[in-house]
Structures are given as C-alpha cells and as structure tokens.
C-alpha cells in the first residue's frame, strides 16, 4: 500500500508542525478523559449514595389508605421474590419533639433495627451511640445531627414527643447520626413497636423498604409488586428520577463541550494537512500522472489525518490516565460533610471513557482531514504539474 508510505513520509517531512497538531489532539483527549473520569466519579458517588442510603424499593399503602394492614404476609411475599435481599417495615409519623424550651417538627420512623440494618446500613452514619440500641422496645430515640443541635440535646438527654390526641411521651436519646443530607434535620428513629404503641395504631405499618442484590433490577420488581399486590411500590430510580435526569442532562451538556474541544484540536490537524497539500501540489500532480487514482490521493491525506489523530489519541490516553491518577491523589481541604464525606475529588477511571474519547477524537480528526484530502483529490493534474 504505497498510500500509507507516502502519507508517513509527508508527516515525517513536516515533523515540527505535525508534532504541534499531535500535542493539540493529545491535550484535547487528555482533558476530556479527565473530565469524563470526574463525571463518572460524581455520577458514581451520587448513585452509590442513593443506592446505599435508601431502600431500593419503597412500598407505600394502597391508594386512599393510610396503613398497610397484615403486613407480615406481604413481607414474606416480597422476601420470596427473586433478587430481594432484605425487607424492612416501618411506621412513619409526624410529631413535635421538645427539649426544655426548644421544639422541632420531625418525622418519626419506627423500625426494627435488625431488618433496617440489612436494607440500609445506618450504623455507619452513627456519630455516637449504636443504631442497634433500638432493638430494645423501650422509649429510645436516635436523632439526626442537626436536629440534635437545634434541640440542643446530647446523648442520654430526654426529649418529649407530642402528637395531637395522645399523651406526650419521653424518649431517651441513645444515638446521633449524620448523613450529610437534609435527613439530619428532620428525622428521628425509634423502635417500631414502641412507635405503633405511641400512635395507638395497632400492628400496622406505613411502608416497607426493600434491598435488592442488583439495584438496577428495582424498577422491574417495583412494577411487579404494584401489579400483583396493588400496593404502591416505588423504585429508587423513580423516586430520584429528577436527580438522575439532571445527571443525564449535565452529561449531555458536557458532551457539547467535548465536541467543541475536539473540533478545536481538529482544526490543528486540518491546518497541517492544508499546508502539506499546498506544499505538495506538484507532487500530487506527478502522482496523478503516474496513474494514482483520485481515490488514492484522497486516501493518502485521510491516512495522514488518521496517523496524526491516532498518535494524539494514544498520547492523550496516557496523559489522561496519569493526570486522572494524579488528581485523584490530591486531598481537598473541604469539610467532609459537604462532599458526601469525601476528601478527594471523585475520579473513576473507566476503560469505556478512553474508548469513547478515542473514537470521538478519531472521527473528528478524520472529518478534519476530509476537506484538505478532497481538495488534493480534485486537483487538475495539468495545473498541478505546471504550478511548480
């Protein structure tokens, strides 16, 4: 294939300009790989935090009903579904918590800590105390960090819960948790039976959390539960659809910037090729006189774009990989609660991103080569030969 040979010689003969265009492509590819790794990092962190800190499916009462009655049967039914790892029933109610002169409106969650622990790992969020302390059916309560702060209470203090139509009840604080989310300000956990008692509701629940072995199978199972039982089952995907679609939209926006960056580096390649074509007019004419077809002339210059692009992509991938590792190792001086408890930028290096950036860059570089290549192939051999 003489076309490749000619293309390679052209590039070698203009090594200074070609090096600059390769650097431009490398930088573009490198920067985009870093950006993609950060995007992947943030997306992973968002989704992980959602998947970890929420039930994968939440089952709510049927329409126009406040409670799920006879829930033990439903628990068993769901537990026997494929892919279900754990089920935790809860009773949720609004109440006011009071300590001395401070009062706050809260959402009280009555749970069975053994079941709850298997659906959401609350223990890891505990600042002080143990989540398992709620196994005791006594009047114990665990508060969010900000709620505790607003009430000005500490471990061992007593808060009084009040609801209309029931006797105020004292709860002893046996733990304080912190998730870094608004939950910290409004939620408190107690024992399920204790809370059912407090509300005088009998043995009913207001909802059920489900954990699956594959979080992405939640949507399908939720629909299945909906259909089969009539209870309102919502998957984490549906529940967080706004956040997820926001993530998707921002990813789309980012792709727009990728295209802009690649196009700029593509101009570098087009520029070098236009220079080569202009410099090699006589040579192109002679190649045509020797019987080189217009297709082969076109191929020569597209190959040049391909070679420059490929070199840029390979160097850019290495650059992006090394830079991503370097960025991931930098500690950022940010309070951990602001960034989901992170002290590093979330970088996730995915092989996919390298492939995407590489193909993306190659496609744009080849397109950048089309104009000069067409120009070369459309030359009139006579004019080309006598132009020298």
């Amino acid at each position: 294939m003489f076309e490749l040979d000619v293309a390679a010689r052209h590039i070698r003969s203009r090594h200074r300009q070609t090096i600059f265009s390769i650097i431009a492509v490398s930088l573009a590819v490198g920067i985009i790989i870093i950006a993609m790794s950060m995007m992947s990092g943030y997306t992973t962190i968002w989704i992980d935090s959602i998947v970890e800190n929420q039930a994968h499916i939440t089952v709510h009462p049927k329409e126009n009903e406040d409670y799920i009655h006879l829930y033990h049967g439903l628990e068993n039914h769901i537990y026997n579904q494929e892919g279900v790892e754990a089920v935790s029933s809860y009773f949720q109610g609004e109440a006011a918590l009071q300590h001395k002169h401070n009062a706050e409106g809260v959402l009280l969650y009555g749970i069975n800590p053994k079941d709850e622990k298997r659906v959401v790992n609350r223990e890891k969020d505990m600042l002080v105390g143990e989540f398992a302390s709620l196994e005791n059916p006594g009047s114990r309560i665990i508060l969010g960090f900000k709620l505790a702060k607003n009430l000005d209470v500490e471990m061992g203090d007593i808060v009084t819960a009040q609801i209309p139509g029931a006797r105020p009840t004292d709860f002893t604080i046996t733990g304080i948790f912190q998730t870094g989310t608004p939950v910290d300000e409004i939620i408190a956990f107690t024992n399920l039976e204790r809370l059912q008692d407090f509300y005088g509701s009998g043995d009913v629940i207001t909802g059920m959390g489900i954990k699956m072995s594959d979080a992405y199978a939640a949507e399908e199972l939720a629909n299945g539960i909906d259909r089969e039982t009539g209870y309102d089952a919502v998957s984490w995907i549906e529940q967080n659809s706004e956040i997820l679609s926001l993530l998707e939209t921002s990813e789309g926006m980012v792709y727009f910037f990728y295209i802009v960056i690649f196009t700029i580096s593509g101009f570098g390649i087009a520029n070098v090729l236009i220079m080569i074509v202009m410099e090699k007019v006589g040579e192109i004419g002679m190649l045509m006189a020797m019987g080189t077809s217009r297709r082969s002339i076109m191929l020569i210059f597209l190959l040049e774009a391909g070679i420059l692009g490929m070199a840029g992509v390979v160097i850019g991938c290495v650059l992006g990989y090394v830079a991503s590792l370097a960025i991931a190792s930098i500690t950022i001086p940010v309070p951990p609660e602001m960034y989901f408890g992170m002290d590093h930028l979330p970088i996730v290096i995915e092989f996919e991103n390298f492939i995407t950036a590489g193909i993306f860059a190659m496609v744009i570089n080849i397109i950048a080569g089309v104009f000069p290549a067409r120009r070369a192939s459309k030359m009139n051999p006579v004019e080309a030969i006598y132009s020298v």
Partner: protein, 231 residues
Amino acid sequence: MSDKYIIQIKNLTKIFGDGVEIKALDGVNLDIERGEFLSIIGPSGSGKSTLLNLIGILDTPTSGTVLLNGVDVTKMSDKERSRTRNRELGFIFQYHHLLPDFNALENVMMPLLISGVKSSKAREVARKVLDEVGLGDRMEHRPNQLSGGQNQRVAIARALANKPSIVIGDEPTGNLDSKASGNIYELLRQLNREHNQTFILVTHDERMAAKTDRIIRLVDGRVAENSINSG
C-alpha cells in the same frame, strides 16, 4: 491500421477560458507510429504542451479524439484514465517532479507500486532501470542529494519503470546545461532503440529536434510542418 499507429489524433481542438476563449489547439490531425522518436516544436503558446497533455490523458479535449492503441481515451472514465496512464504512459517533465521524501530507488518504484506490483519485485525492476540510466551507484540518494542531470535521469528511469508503450517528455532537458542535455538526449535515443518504445518530446531546442525521426511544428494550435528527418 491501428496496429501500425500507436496514436491517432483526429481533429483535436482544445479551447481554454470561460470568458475570453483561447484556442490552444485547432483541429490537429496526427498519426504516430509504434517505436517512433519524434519531437514537437513551435513557439511558446503554440499548443505543444496542450497537445502533449492530451496525448498523456492528463487533460480532456474540447472536441476531437485521441486513439491510443485504437481506444478512444477521451471517452474513458477517470479511473480508466489513471490506469492507462500508469500502464501505457511514462512522463518526463522539465522539472523532474521526484517525490522529495523518497530516495532515487523508491521514486522509480512508485509507478510499479501504484500499479499494485509487490514491493520486492518493484525494487528489483527499479534497480535494473536505474542501472540502465547510469545511476546504479546513487540509488539511496534523495533528490536534494543529486544534481539536476542526475535527478532527470531518475525521472527518466521512473517514466520507464512500468515499461510503458509511450514515453512523453515536456522539455525534458529544459533545465539542464548543454552537456547534460546532450547526455540525456543520447540516453533517450538509446532507450528508444533498445526497447522500441514510442518517444514524443516537446522541445524548443531545434538542434535536439533535428536529431529525432520526425518533427511536428505547431503554430497557433495547428500543425504547420510534419517532416521526416532523413539524417
């Protein structure tokens, strides 16, 4: 009849320009025999190069036909024209037009590689042809490492590499001093005798033209003289 004549030109006309029209060739008729060594002369602007480019299928006429081995090249597709140029025609221009990034041997190999000959075979053929033009010891040299005369010899070797039936030269010695010109002329003549290839040379050098088999003189795009050289 087409067996005797390798080229038959009938009523060939070429008009340039969109606004102001210039008739570069005006109804040229010409038959060229196989193995002929002929020259085309004439003042500048008389249409010599235009005629040569039409014979070389580098350009298309406004009207008229060029039969090459009995085939009308003016009706060929772009692809067929490229193929025919590669197989049947060898070109030598005033400026050698060697590829500057390739050495002498690689330049001579190029027409063979374009026609799809394997690299090893092309190398072997190119070596032989370079030996023939007296550059056996300069094969690895790039054009910028060779003299004008040497480069023109490489260009000649390149034109001959694919064993074309017609070799076209547009002022092949125009850039050389008289001694180098003489040597190149002798080389072309010798190659013509050895391989029985048809040589068509455009020149403004009357002395050189006088040494060819036949002189075609063009004036204002018409054949003004078509004379066989006896001596």
